[in-house]
Symmetry: C2
């Protein structure tokens, strides 16, 4: 018998049929003797529809009211899921974030969990009920409804799994797990049985869409074992843990991100405080800077390049241009025709040949590299947007990611 927190995303509960299918899965699971706690997201595109209505009534809706509005989506899905379970003879009870004991700060639309007192959820489990908890929501100290932000249901699930001391937490999505590359781009992409938290974080940060990064960070912090699975195939999926398996591959996956743009501030004085001034100003304007590369200084001046979400390019450009004089910069250039490809792998650190082979592979494919950034378990290259798909395919092939890890060539 296991205690499991299962989280179902929007596509998994998009309509009454899907809700009934998920309820059937939970009923079977329960018949096997497992204790199940559910977390559900809003149905299908409901959150988008609610946001559209908000923008129809107000140019700049207050965060408090946005949270009141948006959390209704998860609440609706919860109630319907509890009904569907009851209809199958499984006693169930829906709980809002507040009822489930999620106390948060008052940062509306992006609230952070302060404390969880899951008394009602625990009582429900003890009484043999399946609790169905609304994802991504809680209540502030003032008694106002708060929303964690998009993707926050994963955070709800991981946090509940931790405080309920669950054996593991299953994140059900519309894909069957974590892949060695996006299967829409690389036909031979391989579902990974196992991935580490660190690798998944790097993958999420570099374009892999699921699960939400904040939830993975939380899972790593509290050692909550995650299973990333499909609510459409119900196949085993990918297990995410903090433990490194013996047979772990050097390279796990190729990821890509086509949603960013590149900015270059060139001819900047190479002296202390310059980068700090630039990135503090960007942060104050709520621009999410991702990759940052500063070239080697030549004759006392240097170039700073960084990537930002394409939607924030205009904001980033005006911040940077406003600082041209202060930074003593020559020029600010923006480029939104770029993409990023990344190689993820826990073993890369001790295999310096990996980076070389990555660059060689891209060169053989005639792809020019414009920026490079590395971490202990990731190498990212910024390339032309049009080169993204060929690059992913070439790298997946070169590192034999379609093969079982044990059967891949080693030694780069």
């Amino acid at each position: 018998m296991a205690r499991v927190v299962e989280k179902f995303g929007g596509t998994s509960v998009a309509g009454p049929d899907r809700i009934r299918i998920v309820a059937d899965h939970v009923a079977r699971r329960r018949n096997h003797g497992d204790e199940v706690v559910l977390v559900v997201s809003a149905m299908g595109s409901e959150t988008d529809e609610l946001l559209r209505m908000a923008s129809d009534v107000a140019a700049d809706p207050p965060g408090r009211e946005l949270d009141m509005l948006i959390t209704g989506g998860e609440r609706k899905a919860c109630a319907l899921m509890a009904m569907a379970l009851s209809d199958l003879g499984v006693p169930a009870a829906s709980f809002t974030g507040s009822q489930a004991g999620f106390r948060t700060d008052a940062s509306h639309t992006a609230a952070k969990i302060v404390e969880i007192t899951p008394r009602r959820v625990v009582e429900a489990v003890e009484r043999g009920l399946v609790p169905v908890v609304g994802g991504s929501q809680g209540v502030s100290g003032d008694g106002d409804v708060t929303f964690f932000g998009r993707g926050g249901s994963d955070t709800t699930a991981v946090a509940l799994a931790h405080v309920l001391d669950a054996d593991y937490c299953e994140i059900y999505t519309d894909v069957p797990g974590v892949f060695s590359a996006d299967p829409r781009i690389v036909a031979e992409a391989r579902r990974m049985d196992l991935v580490s938290f660190d690798e998944l974080l790097e993958m999420t940060a570099s374009g892999c869409p699921k699960p939400a990064m904040r939830a993975v960070e939380l899972a790593r912090t509290y050692g909550v074992e995650l299973h990333v699975r499909s609510a459409f195939s119900w196949m085993p999926g990918t297990t995410v843990t903090g433990e490194e398996a013996m047979e772990h591959a050097i390279i796990s996956a190729v990821t890509h991100d086509g949603s960013e743009a590149k900015m270059t501030v060139s001819g900047v004085a190479d002296k202390p405080g310059v980068a700090g001034r630039l990135f503090r100003a960007l942060a104050d304007s709520d621009v999410n800077v991702d990759m940052i590369v500063q070239n080697v200084s030549s004759q006392g001046v240097t170039d700073i390049s960084f990537t930002v979400p394409r939607l924030q390019l205009d904001a980033a450009r005006s911040v940077a241009q406003g600082l041209i004089d202060e930074l003593g910069a020559d020029n600010v250039a923006a480029d939104d025709d770029i993409a990023r490809v990344s190689l993820i792998g826990a073993g890369m650190q001790t295999n310096p040949g990996v980076a070389a082979r990555m660059f060689e592979t891209l060169a053989s494919a005639g792809i020019n590299i414009e920026m490079i950034s590395t971490s202990a378990i990731r190498i990212s290259c910024v390339i032309r947007a049009g080169d993204m798909e060929p690059a992913v395919g070439a790298l997946h092939q070169s590192f034999e990611l379609h093969k079982d890890p044990a059967e891949r060539a080693t030694g780069y």
Copy 2:
């Protein structure tokens, strides 16, 4: 300066445009120095849509989950209304029933208010905000979300007006007030400036659709002055009070109800306990019996006729048929081709000629009367369904309800 609770029904807030129109009205009102507290219903047909989804996932959804689901409709409308107000520069804050302090019993889908502690609403008013309260909802002693039932937003508004000591409570609907007959049937129907609680209760009970009966009862109990108005024309509407005006008409209105069916249990032994046995059995089966008529006994046997909602006719018939032997009845007959027309008026009691003229008017129009029932301020006749509209027109004409009350003929 007045303190006013304004309640807006579903059609008044059916979409973003309507919500902005209502917000504009509230902003103007506030500029005149009035303190406004809003209560809103779910948008348009949202409650029906939520109920349809419930029936799509479960044959018999638990009440607790229905309440969690349905109250989301009012909550959504509240948040959007608060956003629309903010957009016009009017500080506002939405509150769920629970946040507004509505404590109820645990009778899901038909919860009754136990206590109201409107601390947060009062604080909001004191801080100069417009509180926007979700109608028809509260929280039980167990912390579960509860729903008052359809039309419950009127109850929320009246109860709030009472506990906030408001000057009056405005019920905004899609019609401009209370009429002397349904304007769709009688072109000359007259909007009444004034109506008493008792008259409005009799009108509501006999087919006049708004406001909800329970809210009128509550308003009468606590002496809350009601204004029934249109959120489309913004005209003055009808005032409902406990005070009888000097110029009050003998007859106020003609109402009709085409939603019922008639049942007759004939040849019943005329002895104590028979009617009690029958109507207890119907009540136990949740059949809402309305008009009850028992004919004069002839030779120790009698007929009992009663009306029930047409949707409950099958249930009522099987209850009655199951009791045939026990009651010693000859026969159970059902008839769903009937309608009821009623004459409402506070002065009827002391004007016995009114009933006579009503029957004469129907006879002149060739309309047969099948059942008669009277109260102190109402006379109802059950007739053929096809006769309903001609009957309403003839009665409205005969009692000169199109004229100003002071100009009508008196002495029947």
